[in-house]
Amino acid sequence: MSLAARSGLHTGFYDVEKVRADFPILGEIIHGKPLVYLDNAASTQKPRAVLDAVTNYYRHDNANVHRGVHTLSERATIAFEAARKKVAGFVGATDPSEIVFVRGTTEALNLVASSYGSLVLREGDEVVLTQMEHHSNIVPWQMACQRTGARLRVVPILENGELDMQAYASLLGPRTKIVSVTHVSNALGTVNPIAEIVRQAHDAGAKVVVDGAQAIAHGPVDVAALGCDFYAFSGHKMYAPMGIGVLWARRELLDAMPPWQGGGEMILTVSFEETTYNVAPHKFEAGTPDVAGTVGMAAAVDYIESIGRERIAAYEHELIGYAERELLALPGLRLIGTAREKTGVHSFVLDGIHPHDVGTVLDHQGVAVRTGHHCAQPVMERYACAATARASFGIYNTTADVDALIEGLARVRELLG
């Protein structure tokens, strides 16, 4: 029996046991049970290659970047800029200077809302968001609107969890300056038709910001094919360290945007009378960056590409299909989000049992899921539930993990039903 066959799926060449062996944390025992980690939409675990890259950086190369002429500073700078180039290639960008390193998706979205928002938004202008946005793609735009007098328009979600594209088309108009939309919903798993959203927005003269946090680890991402103007994502959701993230933006937009945070690195000259600013991306990278984080991110890119993003997408597609069939076989379980195109997550509620209780009982079986509103309270409101339980999948999950979840849910019924 091949390893792939043991995974229980038909993706013949995907060796999930080999992948699992690369993640030391998967050996943890939780409440006496082997860890079943199904909270990948909140944060993914790190393969040995990433852990080693970060450790090796600190052991052998650590120094500040772009500042010294000594050898370590040179090594750190080379590693930092090499990571930028690698990440650019990872999302299909041809120019590494279009990659701005930030702390994560939240910071990237705040940067765009603050800097690009102040550049283009005026009183009466409109920013189009969707009802399925994470709070981090809502609040920065509310703040930008408060500063500028622009206002938010919201694309509603259909019952199955897809965007109402007719409503979207009708919201676009001459006042629309920015459309900011998630690539994949963290609460519903819906994959949005970004290329089509971009086409319509561009016809209306608006720029498109894409929150890629939930898409980046689940399949190929190509900003050129998507056609968007900004793409934001986090390292820690793609098997890289926490605290590092990326904003990709078109070079001409970065050039036109005013600086965001002030400090070292982002300047050319400083006097008390006048400061001149560095060019993008350095203009947006004030202060000492998380170089180790970028090195870890580059290692994660290599790791993901060594498996193959198409293969990851195919394997996970089969896995969440299996999970959906198993979940729907449970009496009293309601899936929240049944879009035709889904990836990464299944949100669900059990009749008469609160998700928090589900989460506590599952944890006792070693099964880690997220419970709560997933920082997407408008989505919860849309489906009239205060919270859901969410199982979210990654490259190391197996059908055995799904089986453990299902068994855990049976225990939930037994105890709390």
């Binding site: 008469g352 049992i353 609160h354 998700p355 928090h356 209780d357 506590t360 009982v361 006792h364 419970t371 709560g372 509103h373 309270q377 919860m380 205060a386 919270a387 225990r411 105890l415 709390l416």
Partner: protein, 153 residues
């Protein structure tokens, strides 16, 4: 599963499934809304005071078994009590679920009674807010912070 039973005791499951004093309260003199920012749960506590005594109390809203049971048992525990004793119970319950036992003993003669069933919560730090939400909300209601959001720790 055995230690889960310490958290989900029968009394808690019973009050979680069939909360007592659930619904609006005619002639309420104090109300407050409490949010649990962790999960988005929201409850409203209504109180009718007669002088210094809690004459009537009820609650509304959705939540997990722990928070519903806590709110339900709260209503039974404070009805007919003087405000000072209610505050003592609040502090005693909070100390119980956060594991600060020393504080419990300093709270004088007020007995926790059925509320002692929440002792198991101390093993679950992530669930402390569920057990204290109703109490913080009641506290805010009595302090007159009707429009305020209950702090949940």
């Amino acid at each position: 599963m055995s230690d889960l039973r310490e958290l989900y005791q029968e009394l808690i499951l019973d009050h979680g499934r069939r909360p007592r004093n659930f619904g609006p309260l005619p002639d309420a003199t104090h109300d407050a809304i409490g949010h649990n920012p962790l999960c988005g749960d929201k409850i409203t506590v209504h109180v009718r005071m007669n002088g210094q005594v809690v004459d009537g109390i009820s609650f509304e809203g959705q939540g997990c078994a722990i928070s519903q049971a806590s709110a339900s048992l709260l209503t039974e525990a404070v009805k007919g009590r003087k405000i000072g004793d209610v505050m003592s119970l609040f502090r005693k319950l909070t100390a119980l679920v956060t594991g600060r036992d020393g504080d419990v003993d300093r709270e004088g003669d007020v007995e926790l009674g059925k509320l002692a069933v929440f002792e198991g919560v101390r093993q679950y730090p992530m669930r402390v807010k569920c057990a204290t939400l109703a109490w913080h909300t009641l506290h805010n209601a009595l302090e007159g912070k009707a429009a305020a959001v209950a702090s949940t720790e």
